[in-house]
């Protein structure tokens, strides 16, 4: 920018982990998002993790009010937002206190010194100022008067001091963009579209962004800047995408590829609401969204829509699933398509609404009265939510069954670059509504039997109202095999229970076998997971292998039914490790089903695993052999 300043030395690095932390009102999520966007545009691989408080605006400057955003970007492909940040940006004492423990020793700590007043320090229990004692000596501290410099930079603008201070996140962003050699063009475009109607605010934000950049260039606080080269990626068109958005788009794609209109019946709940928000904007895709009076009505309406020939979908989190259970059981016995999307969060009860967990697996698997099997599909990364949604819809439609899609808070709010697929390459599946009578009586007359099954899939006909001649009545009471009339016959019930189970078990025939990644092919330890732990497990396996530890990795997309070769895979290893963000739910299923002595590694801290801890687990198990 300015040419008076001598160019500072640029140091190439292969990856960086940055954590922005500040008060909820400081705009850290926006700062993180913008930095991510600029980084994505440069072609780095990246992965992000927002970490926000459950309260919308906890009192300013307090520990519960701290909102953070972490991202890792690299010149090679990466799988997680990283364990411990190389750089921590702390906008106030609360942010410093709650995040400093994460920063790598020797890491860069950028602090907004203006907020380190006696009062704000006391508010979070600091007796002295950590910037003035030696408590931060393990880090490379860069004290920056972010607030005052922002206000100073904006003095030309007719803004109140408070409004000017608000732009300090743009100052921080400008500074970080300079430090890591990111452009700011995208952010300028973004600010224009956001504040276009308010020229003063727009001008102030851009000025703050530029001031932050210039500060980086001129200050002695930073002696070097860094550069991370683009990562080699397969050719294609890329974008950065969050899990919930990818999931919503996957549903739109499922509608497109099946020709079925989507009906979403739902009730707002963190962290699932964004799917409703997205889909409600997409009515031109023939999508109906219905914000119901409660979760039960949400799933009920979705069942009604499916009964009428739409793809009924309901989105929720764990507490909502609990409310929907009875209706899901109805869909099981009605044998109609239904998608139940559970974006899991910390439980039980209200638990940790904004934190991640994988503790609804057994609820999805067994949380209904009676023998009520429901297939379960789980995405493994934010962008994978797109494909997982299509797969769940395929099963629901082809097998006429409710299907659980188990995402979680980490996937929902995390983001990564996504190689955007060509729509024509996506799988198609058809509804094949019934239109004909399907049963011939002995006397030659014909009838419609709603529970006559397809020989291959065991799916029953989907005969929607409006189809002449196929009028029939079904419900939650047990139905006679084939004919579908009410039946209390003991043998018939036994048969129907087994048929419904066999249908769900039979889905295994339509899914890919479980793949194992074992570069050397001679590992004796298998680490197997499901859902969002894919990234941390994968990253841990890479490190372990670099350290000379042999380990094989498998990840389950389908949790019910399991792929047909699961038993074989599990039995091929001397040790099977199952890391989960619960107390061992998949491990219980694997033990019960395959009699394998699964070794659980379990954490329920509301946070994803660090790959570091998993390297430790793998190494320990491998060395015990």
């Amino acid at each position: 920018m300015t040419d008076q300043v001598a160019e500072k030395q640029v140091i190439p690095v292969d990856h960086v982990i940055i954590r922005f932390a500040g008060d909820s009102g400081d705009g850290m999520q926006l700062t993180g998002d913008r930095f991510t966007s600029e980084t994505a545009g440069l072609g780095n691989d990246l992965s992000t993790l927002p970490d926000f408080p459950a309260e919308i605006r906890a009192p300013a400057g307090t520990l519960p009010g701290v909102s953070a955003f972490q991202l890792q970007f690299a010149d090679h492909d990466i799988m997680t937002p990283g364990d411990r940040p190389d750089v921590l940006v702390a906008m106030n004492p609360a942010a410093l206190k709650s995040n400093i423990g994460l920063l790598k020793p020797g890491g860069d700590l950028i602090v907004n010194t203006d907020e380190f007043t006696k009062r704000s320090l006391e508010k979070v229990g600091y007796s002295g100022n950590p910037l003035e004692d030696d408590s931060l000596s393990a880090y490379n501290v860069h004290p920056v008067g972010l607030t005052s410099m922002t206000v100073e930079a904006l003095k030309e603008f007719p803004l109140s001091k408070k409004d000017a201070e608000r732009a300090k996140n743009m100052f921080a962003l400008g500074m970080l963009c300079w430090l890591y050699s990111r452009p700011t063009d995208g952010t300028r475009v973004f600010l224009k579209s956001k504040f276009g109607k308010n020229p003063d605010i727009l001008g102030a934000n851009i000025a703050a962004l530029e001031a932050g950049w210039s500060f980086g260039e001129t200050t002695e606080a930073f002696s070097v800047r860094y550069e991370v080269k683009p990562a080699p990626m397969k050719a294609g068109t890329y974008r950065n995408i969050h899990g919930n958005l990818a999931l919503a788009y996957g549903l739109v794609a499922a509608s497109d590829r099946s020709g079925l209109p989507i009906f979403l019946g739902t009730y707002p709940i963190t962290p699932a609401s964004d799917i409703l928000h997205e889909l409600s904007k997409l009515k031109k895709f023939g999508i109906t969204t219905f914000q119901a009076e409660d979760e039960i009505a949400g799933v009920g309406a979705a069942i009604g829509a499916s009964y009428g020939g739409s793809l009924g979908i309901t989105t929720t989190s764990g507490p909502g699933v609990a409310l929907k259970s009875e209706a899901i059981g109805l869909a099981v016995t009605l044998e109609i398509p239904l998608l139940i999307i559970d974006v899991q969060r910390g439980g039980p009860s209200t638990g940790l609404p904004t934190k991640t967990e994988q503790s609804d697996l057994l609820q999805a698997m067994f949380g209904r009265n009676g023998e009520a099997p429901v297939p379960i599909v789980a995405p493994q990364s934010p962008s994978d939510c797109f494909d997982a949604a299509i797969e769940a819809a395929r099963i629901a439609v082809q097998y006429r069954t409710p299907v659980f899609l188990l995402s979680d808070g980490y996937l929902a709010n995390g983001s990564e670059p996504w190689s955007i697929p060509d729509v024509d390459s996506l799988p198609t599946f058809e509804a094949n509504f019934a239109t004909e009578l399907n049963h011939t009586n002995e006397d030659g007359t014909q009838e419609f039997w709603p529970y006559l099954r397809d020989a291959e899939t065991l799916a029953r006909p989907w005969a929607i109202p409006g189809t002449p001649g196929l009028e029939h009545r079904i419900g939650g009471i047990e139905k006679a095999d084939g004919r579908g009339n009410i039946s209390y016959d003991p043998d018939n019930h036994d048969k129907m229970v087994r048929l419904r189970q066999a249908k769900v078990d039979g889905i295994a025939a339509s899914i890919a076998p479980l793949a194992v990644e074992d570069p050397d092919g001679d590992a004796r330890v298998l680490i197997i997971g499901w859902g969002s732990t894919y990234g941390p497990i994968g990253a841990a396996c890479r490190v372990a292998r670099k350290n000379g530890v042999k380990v094989a990795q498998a990840h389950l997309r389908h949790l019910n039914p399991f792929p047909t070769n699961t038993a074989e895979v599990l039995r091929s290893y001397d040790r099977v490790i199952v890391p989960e963000m619960n107390l061992g739910q998949l491990a219980l299923l694997l033990r019960g089903k395959f009699l394998v002595d699964a070794i659980g590694y379990n954490q329920v801290r509301g946070l994803p695993f660090t790959s570091d801890e998993l390297v430790g687990v793998i190494t320990n198990v491998a060395s015990s052999l």
Binding site: T237, F285, A297, G300, G304, G466
Partner: protein, 352 residues
């Protein structure tokens, strides 16, 4: 069968049949399993007899119910039918009605199903004004679970679960529906085929949610619950028949009238004591639900004196499903969505 030339604007999008239908066409092959003498039989027969009037293709009619004796109803109708779970029929029917404007969707529910476990769904269906016709069979008891008191049972009711008498205060379904912003509210009686048919006719013609409370006798667990209204002698004394454009007059010889008293209250008065011009002339199409509500409150939940039947309210408000479809059409006005450009987004980049 007399063919009646009533317009059914709410059914404008539902395909009509060319065939001449009769009640028999609406009888399914399933064996009816209510207790002999149950009021549900007469309701079923009236509904089957009424359906041909609509002139709709049978396959475009759907009955959805919850759980209870009353909720077995769909099995006996030779239309599409869904017997769902306790209390949730209005929610399920909402999903169907919103996505399928070509269907005539009917909900059958009981006093427990609609007002206990399903109370939330009922009030929200009513306020939204989804194009549904809800038939609430009120027998003031839980029939299917063998005789516990229900939300419409009168205080003090002795049942299996209230050996000392219920201490619950009861709901009046008509008052409740009016309070929930229902656009159509009516009450009829299981055994009065003519009256019930007339009410069904009005309900079917209404665009939006129509709630029809049907006073139904459970001869096993609550026999005679409505006897004070049905008995040849007491009935005329107690029943107020609301008829649009008519002064509200009842009693064996029309000796009772409904008036607005000097302090503004709605009251029953001795016809001889008031002038004809003070008698309220009823109009269910009045926007303000105040009068309808006040009349619903006249009824005494124990003695059943001054209980009105007929159409309490029938006003126009665009149905929820229509508004939803309008928004969808508006969104699609610039052409349907393009999936590829949606997922490409604006912020993307090329590699290779």
């Amino acid at each position: 069968m007399t063919s009646i030339d009533l317009p059914f604007p709410a059914l404008a999008l539902v395909p009509k049949t060319d065939e001449k239908q009769s009640a028999k066409d609406f009888k399914s092959d399933q064996e009816v399993r209510w207790c002999p003498g149950c009021g549900d039989y007469s309701i079923l027969s009236t509904v089957q007899g009424f359906m041909p009037e609509l002139g709709l293709k049978k396959e475009n009619i759907v009955f959805i119910s919850g759980i209870g004796c009353s909720s077995r109803f769909p099995y006996y109708m030779n239309t599409y039918g869904l017997h769902s779970i306790h209390g949730r029929a209005p929610a399920i029917a909402t999903g169907l009605a919103v996505t399928r404007p070509d269907l005539s969707v009917w909900v059958v529910t009981g006093d427990g199903d609609a007002l206990s476990i399903g109370g939330n769904h009922l009030i929200h269906a009513l306020r939204r004004n989804v194009n549904l016709k809800i038939l609430l069979f009120n027998n003031r008891i839980y029939g299917l679970t063998k005789g516990q008191y229900s939300p419409t049972s009168e205080t003090g009711k002795i049942t299996k679960s209230t050996p000392q008498g219920s201490v619950d205060y009861s709901f009046n379904p008509v008052s409740l529906a009016l309070g929930a912003e229902a656009t159509f509210v009516a009450r009829s009686v299981d055994s009065d085929r003519k009256h019930l048919s007339e009410v069904l006719r009005r309900a079917a013609a209404h665009e939006g949610t129509a709630l029809v409370e049907i006073l139904q006798n459970c001869n096993i667990f609550n026999d005679g619950a409505w006897e004070a209204l049905k008995d040849n002698e007491t009935g005329p004394q107690n029943v107020i028949r609301l008829e649009d454009g008519q002064p509200i007059r009842f009693g064996a010889n029309g000796e009772k009238v409904v008036i607005r008293s000097k302090n503004g209250h709605i009251e029953v008065a001795d016809a001889a004591a008031v002038s004809e011009s003070d008698v309220i002339v009823y109009d269910s199409r009045t926007e303000d639900p105040g009068l309808a509500f006040a009349i619903s409150r006249l009824s005494d939940s124990h003695s059943l004196t001054d209980t009105a039947i007929g159409v309490f309210r029938d006003v126009q408000r665009p149905s929820y499903d229509r508004l939803v479809r309008e928004q969808m059409a508006e969104a699609a006005a610039g052409g349907p969505g393009d999936l590829q450009s949606l997922i490409n987004g604006k912020d993307n980049w090329q590699i290779g």
